[in-house]
C-alpha cells in the first residue's frame, strides 16, 4: 500500500500542480486515504475519475463542486467503510455529482444517521448510477434543493427497524428528482419529511422492513409510475396537501398492519391510475379531504378502500373494484364522500338502455363490514352462511348501511383509460 501511495500520490500531485486554469480530470487509484487527499487537493469544477478497486475510506468531505465518477470500463469502484466510522461521503458544496460508484458497509449507529452519501445544505447535486449495499442510511439529503437522485440500486439486509436506516432519506428539501431507483431491505424505502415539490418517478421499493414510501409534511410532490411491493407495512403518508399520485403500483402488502397506501390527513390531492393489488387494506383514508381518487384499480385486496368518517368531500370515480373481500368499509353511518361511476365486480344490477351505466344503484358497504368495523372479533364469521344471508337481506332492503354511500351510476364494465400508463411502471 505504501508503495502504491508513494508512486501514485506524487503523480496526482504533479498533475494537480501542472493543471491549467480550466477544470481538470484526476485519475484516482485505491490506496490508503487516497480519495480523501485528492478531494482535498482538487479545485472547484474538477472531475475525479476513480479506477476499479476497493477504497477503504469513510468520512470524506466534498466541500467544493467536484464530480466523482467511477471508471466505466473496469470493474466495480467500491467505497467500503468496513462498518467503521461515520458516513462515507459528506457533500457540503453545490453542484457536486457522484456517479457510478459502489458504497458498502456503513456502520450502524444509534446517535448519528450514518449514510453512504450525506448532503447537507447544498443545491444541484447529482447522484446517479450508484450501487449501495449494506449502508445503514443510503442517500441522505438535508436542507438541499434541485438535486437529482437517479438509477441507483440500494440494498440493505437489516432485520430490525431500530437498527436499520432509510434508503432515500430527505429532510427539509425541495425540488428534488428521484428517478428509477431500486430500494430494498431498508427501514423505509423512501422517506420524506418537510420536502416540497419533489418528483418521484419509476422507482421500485420492495421488501423494506417498515414502509416502502413514508412522508410527512411534504406538500406538492408528484409520484408517478413507482412500484411499492411487499413492504412490512406498505406505504404510509401523512399531513400533506396537494399530493399527486399517478400510475403507481401498490402490491402484496399483506399482514395485520400492512396497507397498500395509508393516507392520514392528506388533503386536496390526486390519486389517479394506480393499481392496488393483494393488499390487506388497499387504500386507508383517515382525515383526508377534497381529494380525487379516480381510475384506480383495486384488485384482490382484503379491504379495497377503508375510509374513516373524518374524511370528507373526496370523490371516487372511474375506479375498478374487483375480487376484494370488502369493497368499501367505513366506521360511520354518515358519509360525506362521493362515489360515482365506478366498476364493482359485486354489482348485480342491469342496464336496460345499454349506456354502460347500471340502472340500479350499488351500495359498496356490506352490512358485515360495518359489523366488523365495530366488533372486530365478528370477523371469524367471514364466509359463514348466516353472514351471507344478512348481506343479502341488507342489500334487498338497506337500512343499516350508510344511506348516502352509494354509487348511483355503477359501470357495467371496468373503466377503460384512453391510454394505459400503468403498463409503463416497473414490474
Amino acid at each position: 500500500m505504501t508503495l502504491l501511495q508513494t508512486i501514485i500520490l506524487p503523480i496526482v500531485a504533479s498533475l494537480f500542480l501542472l493543471s491549467q486554469l480550466t477544470a481538470k480530470t484526476f485519475d484516482v487509484y485505491p490506496s490508503g486515504g487516497a480519495l480523501a487527499r485528492v478531494v482535498a487537493l482538487a479545485h472547484a469544477g474538477d472531475t475525479l475519475l476513480l479506477h476499479e478497486g476497493v477504497y477503504r475510506e469513510s468520512g470524506i468531505v466534498v466541500d467544493k463542486p467536484l464530480s466523482l465518477q467511477g471508471q466505466r470500463s473496469g470493474g466495480a469502484v467500491v467505497l467500503d467503510a468496513e462498518n467503521k466510522g461515520v458516513s462515507i461521503l459528506f457533500i457540503r458544496a453545490n453542484n457536486v455529482s457522484i456517479c457510478g460508484l459502489t458504497f458498502k458497509n456503513v456502520a450502524v449507529a444509534y446517535t448519528t444517521d450514518n449514510a453512504a452519501i450525506r448532503a447537507d445544505n447544498v443545491r444541484n447535486c447529482v447522484i446517479e448510477n450508484n450501487t449501495l449495499d449494506n449502508t445503514f442510511f443510503g442517500i441522505y439529503l438535508a436542507k438541499s434543493s434541485f438535486c437529482r437522485i437517479a438509477n441507483n440500486v440500494l440494498t440493505a439486509h437489516g432485520s430490525h427497524e431500530s437498527s436499520s436506516g432509510n434508503g432515500v432519506h430527505l429532510w427539509r428539501c425541495d425540488s428534488i428528482t428521484i428517478h428509477h431507483n431500486t430500494v430494498n431491505g431498508h427501514r423505509d424505502g423512501i422517506y420524506f419529511e418537510f420536502v416540497h415539490t419533489a418528483v418521484i418517478t419509476q422507482n421500485l421499493s420492495t421488501g423494506n422492513l417498515r414502509y416502502g414510501l413514508h412522508f410527512m409534511f411534504s406538500d406538492s410532490c408528484v409520484y408517478e409510475q413507482n412500484t411499492f411491493r411487499r413492504n412490512g407495512a406498505g406505504v404510509a403518508v401523512m399531513y400533506t396537501h396537494n399530493v399527486h399520485m399517478v400510475n403507481n403500483r401498490f402490491e402484496d402488502n399483506w399482514g395485520a398492519a400492512a396497507y397498500g397506501a395509508l393516507f392520514k390527513d392528506i388533503d386536496d390531492s390526486e390519486v389517479r391510475g394506480n393499481v392496488f393489488v393483494n393488499n390487506t387494506i388497499g387504500l386507508y383514508a383517515e382525515g383526508c379531504n377534497r381529494s380525487i381518487i379516480e381510475q384506480n384499480e383495486f384488485l384482490h385486496n382484503g379491504y379495497a378502500v377503508k375510509i374513516m368518517a373524518n374524511s370528507m368531500s373526496n370523490i371516487f370515480t372511474h375506479n375498478t373494484f374487483e375480487g376484494n373481500s370488502f369493497d368499501v368499509s367505513t366506521n360511520s353511518l354518515q358519509n360525506y364522500n362521493t362515489f360515482r361511476g365506478n366498476y364493482w365486480s359485486r354489482y348485480q344490477g342491469y342496464d336496460l338502455n345499454h349506456d354502460g351505466v347500471g340502472d340500479v344503484p350499488f351500495r359498496p358497504v356490506r352490512l358485515f363490514s360495518l359489523i366488523v368495523e365495530q366488533q372486530a372479533p365478528a370477523l371469524v364469521l367471514m364466509h359463514s352462511l348466516f353472514v351471507e344471508l344478512l348481506d343479502i337481506a341488507e342489500r334487498a332492503l338497506p337500512s343499516l348501511t350508510p344511506e348516502t354511500l352509494v354509487d348511483n351510476e355503477p359501470l357495467l364494465k371496468p373503466y377503460r383509460k384512453p391510454f394505459s400508463h400503468s403498463s409503463l411502471s416497473r414490474k
Binding site: 395485520a256 370477523l379 352462511l385
Partner: protein
C-alpha cells in the same frame, strides 16, 4: 365385526350401482371444475368451494342420511330376523353410506384441482396443497358428522316427516343460528376481551371449525387483526390442532354412539 364388514360391502356395492353417488360426485366435480375454469384463480375457487362445502355438504349428508335409514327399514327388519348383532348392522349401514359420500366428495373436488395444478402454466396460481388437504379433510369430517346425526335422528323418530324436520332443524342450528348466536354474544359483550370465548365457540361447532381451519390457510388471518392473530397462534400450536381434531372426532363419535344406543333398544 365381520358381519358389519359384510353389510358394509353389500351397501357399498349397492351404492356404486345406484346413480346417486355418481350424481353427488358429478355435482362437486362440476362445481370445482367450473369455479377453476371460470374463476381463474384457484385460491379464489377454493374459497368459493368452501362456501358450498360448508352449506351444502352438511345439508345433503343429514337429509340423505335420514331418508337412507328410513328407506332401509325393510332391509333392517329382515336382517334383524337373522342372527345379526344390531351394533354390526348399524355400523355396517353407517359405513356403507358415509364412505361412498366421502369418496364422491374427495374425488369430485380433488380431481379438478389436481389436474388444474398440473396443467396451469403459472406455478403461483396453483393452490396450496395444504389448503386443499384441509378443505378435503373438513369435507370428510363434516360428512361423517352429519350422517351420524342423520342416523341418530332416524333411529329416534318413528315418523319420517318428523325425522326430516328434525334433520333440517339440526342443520339450521349448526349452520346458521349458531353463528347468529356468536354474533349476538360478540355484540352484547363487546366491552370484554372476546377472543378466547369466540375461539372456544368456533371450535365447539364443526361447521365453524372447518370454516376457520380453511380460512386460516388462505391468509385471511391478516384481515382479522388481533382476533386473527390469536386464532392463527392457537391453530399454529400442536395443542390447538389436537383440540380441533378431537372436537371433530367427538362430533362424529357422540352422535354415532347415541345412535347406537337408541338403535339397539329400538322396537322394530
Amino acid at each position: 365385526m365381520n358381519t358389519a364388514g359384510k353389510i358394509f360391502r353389500y351397501q357399498l356395492r349397492a351404492a356404486v350401482r345406484s346413480r346417486w353417488v355418481l350424481l353427488y360426485a358429478g355435482f362437486f366435480f362440476a362445481a370445482a371444475e367450473g369455479l377453476l375454469r371460470f374463476g381463474g384463480d384457484s385460491a379464489k375457487a377454493a374459497v368459493s368451494l368452501l362456501n358450498i362445502v360448508l352449506m351444502l355438504l352438511p345439508l345433503v349428508s343429514i337429509l340423505f342420511g335420514t331418508t337412507y335409514l328410513y328407506n332401509a327399514r325393510d332391509f333392517v327388519e329382515m336382517l334383524l330376523a337373522q342372527p345379526v348383532r344390531r351394533l354390526s348392522l348399524f355400523t355396517g349401514l353407517y359405513a356403507g353410506l358415509t364412505v361412498p359420500l366421502m369418496a364422491a366428495f374427495v374425488i369430485g373436488v380433488g380431481v379438478p384441482f389436481v389436474t388444474h395444478s398440473f396443467t396451469s402454466s403459472t406455478p403461483s396460481s396453483g393452490i396450496d396443497a395444504s389448503a386443499l388437504t384441509i378443505l378435503l379433510f373438513a369435507g370428510v369430517a363434516l360428512t361423517a358428522i352429519f350422517t351420524a346425526f342423520a342416523f341418530l335422528i332416524a333411529s329416534l323418530c318413528e315418523d319420517k316427516a318428523l325425522g326430516m324436520g328434525v334433520a333440517l332443524v339440526v342443520w339450521l342450528l349448526l349452520g346458521i343460528l349458531y353463528d347468529a348466536g356468536i354474533l349476538a354474544i360478540v355484540w352484547t359483550f363487546h366491552d370484554y376481551p372476546l377472543e378466547t370465548p369466540v375461539l372456544a365457540m368456533s371450535i365447539a361447532n364443526p361447521i365453524d371449525l372447518a370454516r376457520i381451519l380453511v380460512m386460516l390457510k388462505f391468509d385471511i388471518a391478516a384481515l382479522m387483526g388481533y382476533t386473527g392473530a390469536v386464532f392463527e397462534k392457537f391453530f399454529g400450536t400442536g395443542f390447538g390442532l389436537a383440540l380441533s381434531a378431537s372436537s371433530l372426532f367427538l362430533w362424529i363419535v357422540l352422535p354415532f354412539w347415541a345412535g347406537i344406543k337408541v338403535f339397539i333398544r329400538k322396537d322394530f
